[in-house]
Amino acid sequence: MHLAAQLPGIHNVTVWSDPRSRSQIGWESFAHLARTAERGKFDFFFLAEGLRLREHKGRIYELDVAGRPESLTVLSALAAITTHLGLAATVNATFNEPYEVARRLASLDLLSGGRAAWNVVTSFDAFTGENFRRGGFLDEAQRYQRAEEFLGVARRLWDSLSLADLPADQATGEFVRPGAGTFAHQGQHFDIAGRFTTPAGPQGHPVVIQAGESPQGREFAAAQADVIFSKYNRLPEARAFYQDVKGRLARYGRGAADLKIIPTATCVVADTDAEAAELAGEITRAQVSPQTAIAHLEAVWGRDLSGYDPDGPLPQVDPLPANQLLQGHSVFRGDRAKVARRWREIAEDRGLSIRELVIAVGDGQTFVGSPATVATAMRHFVSTGGADGFVLVPHTTPGGLDDVVDRVVPLLQESGAFRADYEGTTLREHLGLAQRHTAREAIR
């Protein structure tokens, strides 16, 4: 089983109102979480990305934790206080250029001794584009084409220069081999040539992560990714996703072990199952405050519903689904008319208030129970083909991983489901992935 930890900062998972909740930007919080993850022998530590603060009804969205660092910079600092933990950054392929991203990832891999990973994402809206030179955005198909070409170019750049090309031999006076780092690429999205300057790190290529959902995204991941983040953390649908994606690998000459599928999951641990269930209910209610319930409903309905009682029934007014009130939030950009119909059905069937409805349609908590119950459930999930592991998202910063690491991980270790200690030093080694290089024939 593979385990990763995600620093929250997205959506309403983080319970900032908890009195134990500390800064989501201060260095001490990152250091605490990373040290905890390493103490738990986790594969890697993961940071998400959001390149524009969300806005609701024309104002900065106020209800969720917000404010995050530049991922690669904070991960490089974390490399100084950890020795084995993988360090995964989400870096956008829409609002960046390959030369710079490839260089920064190679740098992180060098500076961390082979622990870098890159979650390749594409951006979906012009709203985010307003923060960038490039501006604008790309449609769904173009986004993947650009991401695929972007990744291909990055791989070519990593292959263009290695430490072996830089003998730095004082006796012979040769620092660099002739032509080292030379590259040229001409494609639909990028037409570039010149010299790359940062030698590839110990992993050759950093671990590539993808979170594709659409058929196109799944295909891209099957061809290119080392790890998939999935949202499927309930067993039947998780198994279907797992089988679908693993089934696509053979087409690319890859085996099932070459791509790890790890859904995001939350854990609520207490002494007994009953206490944990109670705690899970409290966390969920804290995640969906009365104000959050109304805001989510407004996001789906496309209209101001601030006059409605969150503990009362759904409004009788019809949604205006074309009206996008909550911007920069990936969850509310689908077919809002369809979502609104489904929400009304659920509320009417089950007689739910607005807040109860928003709680019911939300993700809730994935693994709830005593340490033994949670460990058993996690093992079952993995052993029955639901996943290769989990990305755990704590509810509080920075202490939210402590319970899992102190109480659940030892049980997973005892049962042999999870490593008792790191066996390698690079992230590729933790994940059981081969070092990756592509052929160099194009370079010389």
Partner: protein
């Protein structure tokens, strides 16, 4: 008291430095090499270290790539290097260079803000324009002026050709400064009664529109500990002096004589007067010097001569090259300091040798003469430089609304 910084670049500023360094030259691609240098600078209570960077390979020519194999080529991203050093040091300022011609202003600004967070207020930044046209091909999105052999003989000529890039760089710094202020210090309210983590009235769009790009904001990164990390720039000509006056907190100058110190300082003062800088935000003036230091001046000269022979040509430099003893250098620095400079950025000819000579030779000598601190008296880079934490430019803008 004078300010003192060290410019870290590769294995030293002499192109043949790697041939004689006492460390394994390949270590330049490892974290520990840089951490040791920064830690040594910190033992010398220096104000800060700068780290060079560019989005293309080093070259013997200012304006063109070359095919030489006998000089150091290759580098690691300077911001990530600075961040990697931060947790292993506690006081020294960390000033990475970033390209601002081919990068996204938003990404660069949050990178520096993040460096300030992870270092608890020790971040600086040296924005640098891309003056080598070949680097533009690495991005394929624009072209930049190709300097000629004629151009590169005269700093004023270079600056004239690059003038549009300086204008754009000033816009980049303006965007970064606005983004750093876009969250007020008390924007995070955690008000459970209203369910609000943030107060939207204290987080601001920056609405920047320039000739080359527009940035809406706000930043995704809360205001850094220093409020505004320290912006530095290197300047050899009138346009860069204006850029420093517009955008920088510290400017690195390259006078070669005391007379030039006086003349250049006056030119920078005039540029500042023309820019109406905010009150209480002075521009600190530093002189850059390349240094080869040994207790015996003859030994330093022989060392430098040997390096010139290895490289096949005498060292060329924009900054004055000083070869001698730490005592002689202290004489020069005190003289130039009296002539009006705030401090010095020393470029060690060979690393780590000439850094040790600075921290273990020059610094004790300056302390003996009462000209340099014996211990850090503040924990932030602004503090070391005697710069206050600036008020937030947006803090007043909501006064009427509340």
């Amino acid at each position: 008291m004078m300010h003192l910084a060290v410019a870290l670049d590769g294995l030293g500023w002499h192109p043949a430095a790697w041939r004689t360094t006492t460390v394994r030259p390949g270590a330049v691609f490892s974290a520990e090499y840089w951490i040791e240098l920064a830690a040594e600078a910190e033992r010398g209570t220096l104000d800060f270290v700068t780290i060079e960077d560019a989005l293309g390979p080093q070259s013997a020519a200012f304006h063109l790539p070359d095919e030489r194999t006998d000089q150091l080529r290759g580098s690691v991203d300077a911001v990530l290097l600075a961040a990697r050093i931060a947790p292993r040091t506690t006081a020294v300022g960390l000033v990475p260079t970033t390209d601002v011609t081919h990068t996204e202003p938003f990404h660069v600004a949050i990178g520096i803000a993040t460096l300030d967070h992870v270092s608890n207020g020790r971040a600086g930044w040296r924005p640098r324009i891309s003056s080598r046209a070949a680097d533009a091909r690495h991005f394929g999105r624009r072209t930049t002026p190709q300097l000629t052999d004629e151009d590169v003989r005269d700093p004023e000529s270079i600056a004239r050709r690059m003038s549009p890039l300086f204008d754009e760089a000033a816009d980049v710094v303006e965007v970064a400064r606005r983004l750093w202020d876009s969250w007020e210090d008390d924007a995070e309210i955690r008000d459970t009664a209203t369910g609000r983590f943030l107060d939207a009235a204290r987080v601001h769009h920056i609405d920047f529109r320039g000739e080359h790009f527009a940035v809406k904001g706000p930043s995704i990164t809360p205001r850094p500990p220093q409020g505004q990390p320290v912006v530095t720039s290197l300047a050899h000509a009138s346009r860069p002096y204006t850029f420093a006056a517009q955008a920088s907190d510290v400017v690195f100058l390259t006078p070669h004589t005391r007379d030039q110190v006086v003349a250049t300082s006056a030119q920078v003062r005039r540029a500042c007067a023309a820019q109406a800088r905010p009150a209480g935000q002075p521009l600190r003036t530093f002189a850059d010097l390349v240094v080869f230091l040994d207790d015996d001046a003859g030994r330093a000269r022989r060392r430098k001569q040997r390096l010139d022979e290895l490289d096949g040509a005498p060292l060329g430099s924009d900054a004055k090259i000083f070869v001698g003893t730490p005592e002689e250098l202290a004489d020069l620095l005190l003289d130039w300091h009296a002539a009006g400079l705030d401090g010095f950025r020393l470029r060690p000819g060979v690393l780590p040798h000439d850094l040790w000579s600075i921290t273990r030779g020059l610094v004790p000598e300056l302390r003996r003469r009462g000209a340099f601190r014996t211990a850090y008296e503040s924990s932030t880079l602004r503090g070391h430089l005697g710069l206050s934490r600036p008020a937030n430019r947006y803090a007043g803008s909501r006064a009427g609304r509340r």
